[in-house]
Structure formats: structure tokens, C-alpha cells
């Protein structure tokens, strides 16, 4: 029986019918619901603080080149290793070339000088704030993606919220069920004969931490057995490594229509204090992996991209000036990408605050003009249809809509 049908039967309390042949009107009703094929949001967290000024380069800002004598990316008019011009002011790092055609098709938007308004330069605190969605307030118990899952109750697919990481990220942690899954193939018990006993053990334990984790695990394993046949094989073309592998799994789950609504993955290695490199080198390698992954994901999903928005973020940006080791230290505002069919792309959003020393944040970093919650809130409201954002980003109200989502 297909996924949508079983869901429907379960949710209408007609599960017993699954034992025999359900009347055809029920089948038709279930299929009409199209539970599986829904809209999805994918969040990519770039841990370590990406240097946004060298990812999307404000090459017309005079101060950019004076601040970065050894790591700046050359202007578009230069003979080689140059910025890929986007609009005469901003340009992409050459390692982000795979994203250019998506930008040109209008399905990649960029928001510059964006991020979290808190002034912390601690990786840990800044990531935490971005994940719980309340910068400056540490006591928030859950992540904003989890609050979304709670707020917009619907179909209870165990695949509704999935992180393809080992650890459940704070952003997806909370009372709503959320899954971690690093490999679809290995997501099974190696000794099946223990399944019944273990499932019962975890379902009935008074230890709430394990009850929740166990419930999500067994619900997903059981479901996975049912839908196995629907899950397509991995596509080619993703970069090697955990990031590419994670995106592959997400794409497969989306294509399988198993009810995935929120997905999370991460890419590490952005903390470039030393020898960051320019058009080539350390950071260029990270950007290439990022761009190759995103472009592969975009290609892989094809038409399904019309249901998907992918958003990238990183805990803070890096200093406007390069430091003494051809690297950059912890800074403030950064750049975000939004990719997908519903995105009104081909444009760099956000007001550019400038890099003149007197307008830098605390005299050293790119100032922030767009709160990351304005970007994410708009995706949640306009793409996922959750208009009321009070519970998801408490205490935050975006000033004016960015117009990021069609």
C-alpha cells in the first residue's frame, strides 16, 4: 500500500481496513490528498563562520580591495581568477561558478549583510542563537525549525523533519518529532529479531529523552520498510564528503514523497583565520564543495525544485580587514543564499551598508542590514504557508518584506 493511503487510513481511524481491501472510494480520497508531495524547506548551516565578503564580493566598494591586499578576489575585468559579475556591484567568488546559471534562471537569490544581530563572536553562542532563533536569549528550549513543525500540525510522517547529521541540530530539536538519518540504506536494525522488544522498551520507558528518540526511530524505520520501493537510488554528480552525501539523502527523500517538509544539513571548515586563500586555496575549496553540492541538488531534483526552497546560513561573518596571517577573524554580518523554484532570484537583496571604516560594525566588521529571521520567516510564511510567525521567531518582526518568495 502506498504511503499516502496508509497515512490517510491511519489518520481517519480506518486503519483496520488495511487488513483487507479498502473500498475504492477511500483509496481515491487518500490519493487526492497528495500528502506526500508537499513543499519542503532545506536549511544548510555553514559551521565555522563563512567569510561572506569573499563569497559574494562587493567589488565596487572601494574599501574592499584596500582592506584585503592578499586575499581579495580580482575585479571582473581582470584577466584571470576574477569575480563573476552579477549586477555591476556584487560578484560571485569564482569557485561559486556552478551557481551562476541558477542565478541567471532566477532561482537563486542572495541576501547580503545578513545574519544574526547579536554581537557575540563566539562560534558556539552565535550558532546557538541562530538555531534557537532568539539571538541574545539563551534560555529558549527548542529550535525554530522544531517550533515550525509544532505550530503547523499536519500529517504525521516520521520524515517530516529530518537532519542528515549524526547529532540532532539545535535548530530541529524540541518536542515535535524530528529524525536524524545519515544513510537510508543503513537505517535498519542489524538484528531484526530484537525489533519488537526494543520498540516496546522505548515506547514504554519513563525516560522521556529516550522515549522521544526511540519513537521517532521506530516510526521512521517501520515507515522506511513500507516505502523502500519508492525511494530512488542516489544520483551522480554530488561532491564527495559528508555534505554531498547528506544532500543526496535529502533529495532522495523529497523525490520519494514520504512527507519530508523540513531538512537540515551542514558543511564545516569555514573558520579561516590563517591562509584563507583568494580565488584558490582553503576557502575556495570549501566554496567549491558548497556550490557543487547545491548545483547537484538543483539538477537532481529537476522539476521538483518547484516545491523546494533551500536556505544557507553561517553563524557570523568575518572581519572586513584581513588579519596578519592572510586570514580573517570573527566578524558580524554575512551573506545568505536562497535557492529554489519559488525563489525570486537573479538578484542580490539587502541594503549594502558599505565598508567605510566609520560605518563598520564596532569599527571592524560588515554591519548587518537584514536579520536572518526576516529571510527565514519569509520562507516559512510564503513558501510553507505558516503566516503567523510569533511562535517561531518570538519577539521578532521584520520591518518590510524582502519579496524573496514569489
Amino acid at each position: 500500500m502506498n504511503f499516502a493511503r496508509r497515512r490517510f487510513l491511519k489518520s481517519t481511524g480506518l486503519g483496520f481496513l488495511a487488513l483487507g481491501l479498502p473500498p475504492s472510494f477511500l483509496v481515491r480520497a487518500a490519493e487526492a490528498q497528495q500528502i506526500g508531495r508537499g513543499k519542503a524547506l532545506v536549511v544548510v548551516f555553514q559551521r565555522g563562520a563563512m567569510d561572506g565578503l569573499n563569497a559574494v564580493i562587493p567589488f565596487k566598494d572601494r574599501d574592499y580591495y584596500s582592506f584585503r591586499p592578499s586575499i581579495a578576489i580580482a575585479e571582473p575585468a581582470s584577466p584571470e581568477n576574477r569575480v563573476i559579475d552579477l549586477d555591476g556591484f556584487y560578484g560571485l567568488h569564482p569557485a561559486l561558478a556552478p551557481l551562476k546559471s541558477i542565478y541567471d534562471k532566477g532561482q537563486l537569490a542572495i541576501v547580503h549583510a545578513a545574519g544574526s544581530p547579536d554581537n557575540t563572536r563566539s562560534h558556539f553562542d552565535a550558532q546557538d542563537y541562530m538555531e534557537i532563533g532568539t539571538p541574545g536569549i539563551k534560555s529558549t528550549p527548542d529550535g525554530w525549525l522544531n517550533r515550525y513543525l509544532n505550530e503547523k500540525k499536519k500529517d504525521e510522517s516520521p520524515f517530516r523533519g529530518v537532519a542528515v547529521t549524526a547529532q540532532l541540530p539545535r535548530m530541529l530539536a524540541g518536542s515535535a518529532p524530528a529524525l536524524t538519518l545519515s544513510s537510508i540504506e543503513e537505517f535498519r536494525l542489524r538484528n531484526e529479531s530484537m525489533a519488537g522488544a526494543l520498540q516496546k522498551l522505548y515506547a514504554n520507558t519513563t525516560d522521556s529523552l529516550f522515549r522521544l528518540g526511540g519513537q521517532n526511530l521506530f516510526a521512521a524505520m517501520n515507515e522506511l520498510k513500507q516505502v523502500q520501493a519508492k525511494i530512488p537510488a542516489s544520483s551522480e554528480g554530488y561532491p564527495n564528503g559528508r555534505f554531498g552525501a547528506g544532500l543526496t539523502q535529502i533529495a532522495r527523500l523529497i523525490k520519494a514523497d514520504v512527507g519530508l517538509e523540513i531538512a537540515f544539513t551542514e558543511i564545516e571548515g569555514w573558520d579561516t583565520h590563517v591562509n584563507q586563500g583568494g580565488a584558490t586555496g582553503q576557502m575556495a575549496n570549501r566554496l567549491k564543495e558548497l556550490a557543487d553540492g547545491l548545483a547537484a541538488f538543483y539538477r537532481d531534483l529537476g522539476d521538483r525544485m518547484s516545491d523546494v526552497v533551500l536556505v544557507t546560513m553561517s553563524e557570523f561573518g568575518r572581519t572586513a580587514r584581513e588579519n596578519g596571517n592572510r586570514g580573517t577573524d570573527h566578524g558580524h554580518a554575512n551573506v545568505m543564499f536562497a535557492l529554489g523554484g519559488p525563489v525570486r532570484g537573479g538578484k542580490v537583496y539587502g541594503r549594502w551598508p558599505g565598508l567605510a571604516p566609520e560605518v563598520l560594525y564596532e569599527g571592524r566588521d560588515l554591519n548587518l542590514t537584514t536579520d536572518f529571521r526576516a529571510v527565514c520567516g519569509e520562507v516559512i510564511a510564503r513558501h510553507l504557508g505558516q503566516k503567523d510567525l510569533n511562535k517561531i521567531f518570538p519577539g521578532f518582526r521584520a520591518q518590510a518584506p524582502l519579496g524573496l518568495i514569489a
Partner: protein
């Protein structure tokens, strides 16, 4: 649970906190010696003979080599190629082909074998605690060869010593200087930094200064500012290493030091202090009340609960201040506080993956050999040893270790272990005992009714695997 712990529970609790979980022998030993005498002994590891673990580690050649020797013997494939091109008779030398991966693998194996076999359990717990506190990432560049010495010569000698000594040792360790980039930090005004061609040391790098205060000493709310970060970074200019992949030792390079006056946490450090600037900062930080609190909180979190009662943190912090950061004194304050054996603390901690795997191997009395498979399991559970990339190390709170994928990996580990499907570990079914006696060993009188009834429906190895996969055994 609110009844006071039974004597049997106390023993198991103690072994779960001061070590990597109970074994039948260890339970017997505590029963014989009494808790107080056992703790005394554990706080003086030099008094405990540890021959078995030495024997187990004997095959790990890299553990005895200096950083210099490791760099020479385990080059990257490119370096090996260069070298054999220059010197053809070196072709085919075994180590040259293995690369630095072997160095990290042996370091990981040593950590696991020590957790399982050492009689100095508390010492091993503290070595693990401090290497997570003063985290480095063993796969970053030169740290592939420097981490062995970091563990052996920096962390382990001070794991039960004085905090200040440990702090200074890490500040001067090539592995930390490299990991947090301080070896490159230079005064922007230094002539040598500005004019030497291709000199990478041309200015300030804040990385170490920030993490030193945020993660190693004061804590993020410990009362420092961005200005302090910059001032501390200035103090540490010149604390460097010659060549990360060559003569790697720590030295002070006055020519890249910023000689000017600095103000750190309100204290004036006069101009011209040279290397003493850094030492003054370490002294200031080691004795700062925020450090006493922060270290005490982290210790209480490891030994008591994720959110330890403020009363026990206060006692530990007081002991820290009074004893000038003597680590055994702080630990004793924690172990002797009534909060330590309170019913609320029993089974309050979720095991981190190393704790889970080691406790399973100990409780089953598994025979463990050098094994990559066990290390791979640790990786999939989320704790590849010595490989936490961010300077925060691995989180020590339960919610970080209970994701569905992690639980699944633990369940699979439990059944693989009992089925002897993990190369490098071997469980003797005959000596395992039955489910009931195993339950007494891991959670005496503390199984939930559900687990008890599930247990009675299984038998033999299956029941042990079930217990090790059950929620009770995920806790300590």
C-alpha cells in the same frame, strides 16, 4: 526515584562516574575496599599498578615516538613521494606508505584501550575530560603529527595535577599553538613581520586569545570584552613554534612580539614584558573567580548531571579557589558532597559514545584487541576520538547524544558485540552470565518494569544485547 541509593547502587554509581563503568571485578574491589579508600586510591593513580594496559598498548608504536620522529616516519603521500624521489633506497619502507592516518588511529585506539583496561579509571576519565576541554582537531594540518605528543606530554601529565600547570602546558604546546593559530600571530608593527618576504606572520590573530577565555578559562559569560580579546592576543604575540612540520617545539620569538602596554580585564600590563605578558595573562586567568566557577561547572556536569545543583558547583568552586586550582581537591569536593550520591544524580547522565562503548566492553568482559571497527562505531555514534573540529569539543549534555540515528547505532553495536560480529572484540558467552546478573551489574534494582518484562521474554546473549540497547544502559 527518591529513596536513598542502596549500597549496591552507590558502588555502581561511583564506577559509572569515576570510571568507564562497572566490571564484576571492580564492583568486588570497591565492596572490599570501601568507597572512601577506593576514591583515595583513584585520586593517586601513581599508586595503582597498570600492567595490563601497558601490555595492550605495547603494539602501538607511534605512542612512544616524538613529534619529530612521527613527521619523519609517517609523511603524507606527496611528501613520501618527494622523499623517495630524492632517496630511492627509502622506497617501500612500510611506515612511509601508511601516512599520518596511522598516527591518529593509534592515538584513538590507545584512548579506547585505556578506557576499557586501565586500573586508573579516574585518571583516564580526567584525561578524556581535559582533552575535550582543551580540544584540538587531530586532522588539522600539522596536528596530525602533533596530537600524540599533546596527549602524552601536555594533557596526561597534568590530568590530576594543578589547573594552572595544565593551562600553561596547553598554551605552550605545539598542537594548540597550531590548532588555534597563535603560532602565526604577530605584532602588526614588527619589522620582521612587515618586511620579511613571504612571511606569514604579519599581524594579530585573535583565535587563541578568544578561545582561551571563552572555552579554556573564564567561560563565555565570564566577563571579558572584544577589547580584552585583542589585548590578550597582543600579549601572546611571539608565542610560537619554529616549523610545525619540522623542529616543532615551543619558543618565544621577541621579534614578532608586541612590546607595548596592554590592559587585560582591567589590569595594566606594562610595556616591555616580552614573554612574561603571556604568562601574566595565564596567571590572571587561572586565578580568576570566573575560571574557578566555569571549570567547576564543567566538572560537575561531567560527574553529577547536565544541570548540576548550584550548591555542588559552589563547593567545587570554593575548593578550586582554596587549593589554587588543585584538581584532585576539586574532585574530592564533588565526590564528598551529598549531592554526588543523591538519588537525583543516579543514572542522570547520558553516556557519551566513548563512555557507552567502553562501558559495554567492560561490563561484558570483552577481550579487546586493536580494532578499527570499534573506532568506526564511535565515529558513527558521533564521537570520533580526537576529531572534534570546533574548539568547543564534544557537548556533554544528554540531548546531544540521543538522536534517532545515534540510538540506532548503539542498538546495532549492542547486537553486533554480543554476536561477536565486531572484529577486534570478543565476548565469551559462557562467562557473560544471564540477564539478571548482568542487570545487577549495570543498574541494580533500577530496571523499569518494561525492561524487566522484555528481559524475561528473552534469553542468553539476546537478553544481554537487549539490556545494552535499553534506555537504562544509555545512562550512567
Amino acid at each position: 526515584m527518591s529513596a536513598p541509593l542502596t549500597q549496591e547502587q552507590k558502588v555502581v554509581h561511583l564506577l559509572n562516574r569515576t570510571g568507564f563503568g562497572p566490571t564484576r571485578e571492580e564492583v568486588e574491589k570497591v565492596r572490599r575496599m570501601g568507597i572512601r579508600a577506593y576514591l583515595d586510591e583513584q585520586l593517586h593513580p601513581d599508586r595503582i599498578p597498570d600492567g595490563l594496559v601497558e601490555e595492550k598498548l605495547a603494539g602501538l608504536k607511534t605512542m612512544r615516538l616524538s613529534s619529530r620522529e612521527l613527521i619523519d616516519l609517517y609523511p603524507t603521500p606527496q611528501q613520501a613521494k618527494q622523499r623517495t624521489n630524492q632517496n630511492p633506497e627509502m622506497t617501500g619502507r612500510q611506515e612511509l606508505m601508511q601516512g599520518p592516518r596511522v598516527v591518529i588511529l593509534e592515538l584513538q585506539q590507545a584512548r579506547l584501550l585505556r578506557a576499557v583496561y586501565s586500573q586508573r579509571q579516574l585518571y583516564e576519565v580526567m584525561a578524556d575530560f581535559w582533552s575535550n576541554h582543551f580540544n584540538i582537531f587531530a586532522a588539522k594540518g600539522a596536528d596530525r603529527w602533533l596530537s600524540t605528543s599533546y596527549d602524552r606530554d601536555t594533557i596526561r601529565p597534568h590530568a590530576l595535577g594543578r589547573f594552572e600547570d595544565l593551562l600553561r602546558a596547553t598554551a605552550q604546546s605545539p598542537a594548540m599553538l597550531f590548532y588555534l593559530d597563535n603560532w602565526l600571530s604577530a605584532s602588526p608593527n614588527a619589522t620582521i613581520a612587515r618586511f620579511a618576504p613571504n612571511n606569514r606572520r604579519r599581524g594579530l590573530n585573535e583565535n587563541y586569545a578568544r578561545e582561551l577565555m571563552e572555552l579554556h578559562t573564564l567561560g563565555v559569560d565570564g566577563g571579558y570584552t572584544q577589547k580584552d580579546v585583542q589585548e590578550v592576543a597582543r600579549c601572546f604575540t611571539g608565542w610560537t613554534i619554529r616549523q610545525p612540520r619540522g623542529e616543532g617545539g615551543f619558543y618565544f620569538e621577541p621579534r614578532i612580539h608586541d612590546p607595548g602596554e596592554k590592559i587585560v580585564l582591567g589590569r595594566r600590563i606594562p610595556a616591555g614584558g616580552g614573554m612574561d605578558d603571556g604568562l601574566t595573562v595565564l596567571d590572571l586567568l587561572a586565578h580568576h573567580p570566573s575560571t574557578a566557577r566555569f571549570i567547576s561547572l564543567k566538572l560537575a556536569r561531567r560527574f553529577v548531571s547536565d544541570h548540576p545543583p548550584p550548591s555542588i558547583v559552589n563547593k567545587a568552586a570554593e575548593a578550586f579557589r582554596q587549593s589554587d586550582g588543585d584538581i584532585p581537591t576539586v574532585l574530592r569536593a564533588i565526590f564528598e558532597a551529598p549531592e554526588f550520591f543523591a538519588p537525583e544524580a543516579f543514572q542522570a547522565k547520558v553516556k557519551m559514545p566513548l563512555e557507552y562503548v567502553a562501558s559495554a566492553l567492560r561490563a561484558t568482559g570483552a577481550e579487546v584487541q586493536l580494532s578499527h571497527q570499534l573506532l568506526r562505531y564511535l565515529g558513527r555514534m558521533g564521537e570520533p576520538l580526537f576529531l572534534a573540529q570546533p574548539p568547543t569539543g564534544y557537548p556533554d549534555v544528554g540531548s546531544s547524544w540521543t538522536s534517532p540515528d545515534m540510538l540506532l547505532t548503539r542498538m546495532n553495536f549492542a547486537s553486533d558485540l554480543i554476536a561477536n560480529r565486531i572484529p577486534g572484540s570478543r565476548v565469551q558467552r559462557e562467562t557473560l552470565g544471564d540477564g539478571d546478573s548482568f542487570a545487577r551489574l549495570i543498574a541494580p534494582d533500577a530496571l523499569s518494569p518494561t525492561t524487566r518484562s522484555a528481559l524475561s521474554a528473552t534469553e542468553g546473549g539476546q537478553s544481554i544485547a537487549l539490556l545494552m540497547a535499553a534506555p537504562e544502559f544509555q545512562r550512567r
